[in-house]
Symmetry: C2
Subunit: 250 residues, 2 copies
């Protein structure tokens, strides 16, 4: 792994309840921040309904394009949980009850309660590695570069921890945040563009938020080279401080 | 418009800050819930970075597939705001400063402050209709079936209100929520699947959440026909109440 290596990822969120707005997703930002500390960059996210053709199309579009695809949702025992079967279809492999997964389920479920529906949670595509779920036992899995996780945030987070040591890592980005000194974006956009052009190895973004009738802006510098990030930050701060209306740098 | 008409939509979220997890998206759920009341169903969401080729590919994939595409983000004055130009490219139309947009900007910005960067916010693709922004004036726009909005939630919401009367509407889905009477999903998955099969016109989902070491589950029925939704709800409740361990129906 070279010091400038970049590992890429995408997230496929599966679930009608996210698309309808009923459930507000809490996983995308969590996964992105977790992966970023390991130098893995999330480059695309898709949210698709509980429809096999949509899941297959989504995972196929993403798995050929990024180093990893993380899916969330659709691995429970009910009829609308069709993620595992859809992933098997995308990979063109058989899917069957996995004895390792049955063993895990039996750590939480009494043998007499292990009905047909619950056994569905042990259906794992051929060739997949299990991803442990210390919260409620029903496992996720990893097949090729696709990691299949639960949608419930606490369970997803535990699964992400379990799979983390198996992932290849890159060079974490250095991120520098610059307060815009009370200036509106329109006041500093031109000098900021000049700094951005001077640092082609850095990605520089300006992020407004709007409270109490006023914009409160921050500028974020991301670069693989920490020295580039620090130098860009200094140039931005210097450029901002020269503008009329800028607060003193605290 | 027939009583069973379905109008579809997709959302394209544009921004490195969402993909990095730095900013947690608050727009997807809001747009989905707003559109649902009008009978417009969000069927797919994509989140892409501030990269022209990704924005163009995303909008082109979605606009041919769904009745509407709503984009958020990337219409400010800074160098990383490239949404308007990318949309023009996707539609193959020229883009230029729009006198109507300049006029709106001048309602908030003094003429001497209308610098080159701020004028960028008046760049509108040829043939687009403006979408008003009562919060900070810089407009969004609608071109073909694509509605381009700001990423800041309060501004996005105001733009969505402005564009709403121009959208075609469908029959709103009737949504019935059934508390799972304290039962785990694995206990009711099989009877629930039977009800789902009996109501092919309804979409029935089971949504677990996990708190204090226990699952708290809800079942949601969505149907365009309110009678179907009510009947499915009744059958689900009756099936749940028969199961061992079910709480009394309150």
């Amino acid at each position: 792994m070279t010091s400038n290596s970049s590992v890429t990822a995408s997230i496929l969120v599966i679930g009608d309840e996210i698309l309808s707005g009923r459930t507000k997703d809490k996983n995308i930002g969590y996964i992105a921040e977790h992966l970023m500390t390991m130098g893995i960059e999330v480059r695309e996210v898709r949210i698709v309904p509980d429809v096999e053709a949509e899941i297959v199309a989504g995972v196929d579009a993403l798995r050929h394009r990024y180093d990893y695809v993380f899916t969330t949702g659709g691995i429970g025992p009910t009829h609308d949980d069709i993620t595992a079967d859809s992933i098997a279809k995308a990979f063109g492999v058989p899917i069957a009850e996995d004895p390792r997964a049955i063993e895990l389920l039996l750590q939480r479920i009494k043998p007499e309660d292990l009905n047909e529906a619950r056994r569905r949670m042990a259906r794992i595509p051929d060739g997949a590695e299990l991803v442990q779920n210390p919260v409620s036992k029903a496992p996720g899995f990893m097949i090729g570069n696709v990691i299949v996780m639960a949608g419930v945030p606490s369970i997803m987070q535990a699964m992400l921890d379990d799979v983390t040591p198996r992932l290849k890592t890159g060079t974490p980005l250095t991120i520098e945040t610059v307060d815009a000194l009370g200036l509106p974006e329109g006041a500093y956009a031109t000098p900021l563009a000049t700094v951005a052009q001077a640092f082609p190895g850095a990605s520089i973004g300006s992020y407004p938020s709007f409270r109490d009738g006023t914009f409160h802006n921050q500028i974020v510098v991301r670069a693989r080279d920490p020295q580039q990030a620090a130098a860009a930050k200094q140039q931005i701060l210097a450029a901002l401080a020269e503008l009329p209306g800028a607060r003193a740098i605290s």
